[in-house]
């Protein structure tokens, strides 16, 4: 009974994480300008790995694998937002203008 519950929770977590990856992908293609696209795409490196790795952690239990998974998660949670920050500030410094700003000026 307990095993089945763990399996169900783990699959729900992994599948919902995958759904967020797809949403991020759609958003990165459909959004109008760079900043909103980044906003959509950043789901894939913040919320989605938490859910997917959370699901995988339930599958692995307390083993060496779970330690590795947690360190991967910590790495992703630190590097992903930093990369987004670097990308956005690089776009701003290089003089990128959103279509809306272009129309105003």
């Amino acid at each position: 009974m307990f095993d089945i519950a763990v399996q169900v929770i783990s699959w729900v977590l992994m599948l919902s994480g995958s759904v967020f990856v797809v949403i991020g992908g759609i958003g990165a293609l459909r959004m109008p300008d760079l900043y909103t696209r980044m906003h959509a795409a950043s789901i894939t490196d913040s919320l989605a790995p938490i859910l997917i790795i959370g699901g995988l952690l339930l599958q692995s239990g307390f083993t060496l694998f779970s330690v590795k998974l947690v360190s991967i998660l910590i790495f992703l949670l630190m590097s992903g937002p930093t990369a987004s920050n670097a990308l956005a500030s690089a776009a701003m410094l290089s003089g990128y203008k959103t279509p809306e700003e272009e129309r105003e000026s």
Binding site: F75, M78, S79, T82, N85, A86, S89
Partner: protein, 325 residues
């Protein structure tokens, strides 16, 4: 299930390759090549070639993307349009592709135990690794010991490439450069997070170096990872600071001493009465002699790869910054 995934990956591979060729924007092409390398690394992993996958991910997706970008810094971002259509090369490529597709029809199935690749030398390697070398990772035993000559050749190829680039581009010197490279010193978030990550990347590089006998890894992958950590440091703190911490002389020393270490392990074997690169004579017990030999030559490989990759990177960056004389 894994077949579906493989087909999906291969379609993505072809798409990325086509996109990289088609785009006139060189920056986009470099990024697409990075994605291509990452996809092919996943493919290698699906085929159970974890060592190759690790190399491809570290060198192909990581270091070579950085090298391409540092070369792009002193080039135009857009490819010049070509006036002529090159039909003859296109025809040659199509014919070669069709021939290869035709030849692959007669290939033995993946994992077929009666295929020549699996019945000729592979059983001998699997058996000998257990008795003669006694390490779990057969790949490391083959690369380091059974085929040590090949790996020696590879190290010298890497070494020669490094020397060649240094001759063409000049080793970077801190004085005489037009601009001061401050890196991302004024950008708080990337700098802080990067500084936090560098020690862990270095630690992982050393783990891959010294754990190569037990798991996927070895000198090539470790060299690329350690070089990646130093490149991250260079991006954050600027080239001047990076060359102050690890001067070009030290990097050149890494290049030379790694190749020398590898070759001298072979010579010591000869002096002790064996043949070149025969590790059995390195210790009183042949098995531990093999293990000592493999650890030493992997260290040589790691040193050379780190030195060469960092020298090439610094040479490109210094050239992009321009020089007063």
């Amino acid at each position: 299930m894994s077949e579906i995934f493989s087909v999906f990956l291969l379609i993505l591979l072809v798409t990325t390759a086509a996109a990289a060729i088609r785009t006139p924007n060189l920056f986009a092409a470099v990024m697409l090549m990075g994605i291509f390398s990452l996809l092919i690394a996943i493919n290698f992993f699906l085929l159970d070639a974890a060592d190759v996958a690790l190399t491809e991910a570290a060198v192909g997706a990581g270091i070579s993307t950085v090298l391409f970008l540092s070369a792009l810094a002193f080039m135009d971002e857009y490819e010049r349009a070509r006036a002529t259509r090159r039909l003859a090369p296109l025809g040659a490529v199509c014919v070669a592709g069709l021939l290869m597709g035709y030849a692959s029809l007669y290939e033995p199935a993946f994992g077929d135990p009666s295929a020549p690749a699996n019945s000729h030398l592979a059983p001998w390697f699997l058996e000998k690794t257990q008795t003669a070398v006694d390490i779990p990772n057969v790949i490391t035993a083959i690369l380091g010991s059974f085929r040590g000559y090949d790996t020696l050749g590879e190290v010298f190829v890497v070494f020669t490439a490094g020397i060649g680039v240094l001759f063409l581009l000049d080793a970077p010197k801190s004085d005489g450069l037009l601009t001061r490279d401050e890196g991302l010193r004024h950008y708080l978030i990337p700098r802080m997070v990067g500084r936090l990550l560098i020690p862990f990347i270095l630690l992982y590089g050393l783990y891959v170096q010294f754990h190569g006998e037990y798991g996927p890894g070895g000198g090539f992958q470790a060299g690329a990872l350690i070089a990646a950590a130093v490149i991250l440091f260079t991006l954050l703190e600027g080239q001047d600071q990076s060359l102050r911490v690890l001067p070009q002389k030290v990097l050149t020393g890494f290049m030379v001493s790694g190749a020398l270490l590898y070759a001298s392990v072979g010579l010591v074997g000869m002096l002790k009465g064996g043949t070149f690169l025969d590790y059995n004579v390195l210790s009183s017990d042949p098995v531990s002699g093999q293990q000592i030999g493999i650890i030493l030559i992997e260290a040589g490989v790691g040193l050379t790869v780190t030195g060469v990759l960092l020298s090439i990177f610094h040479a490109f960056v210094a050239r992009g910054r321009g020089r007063s004389s």
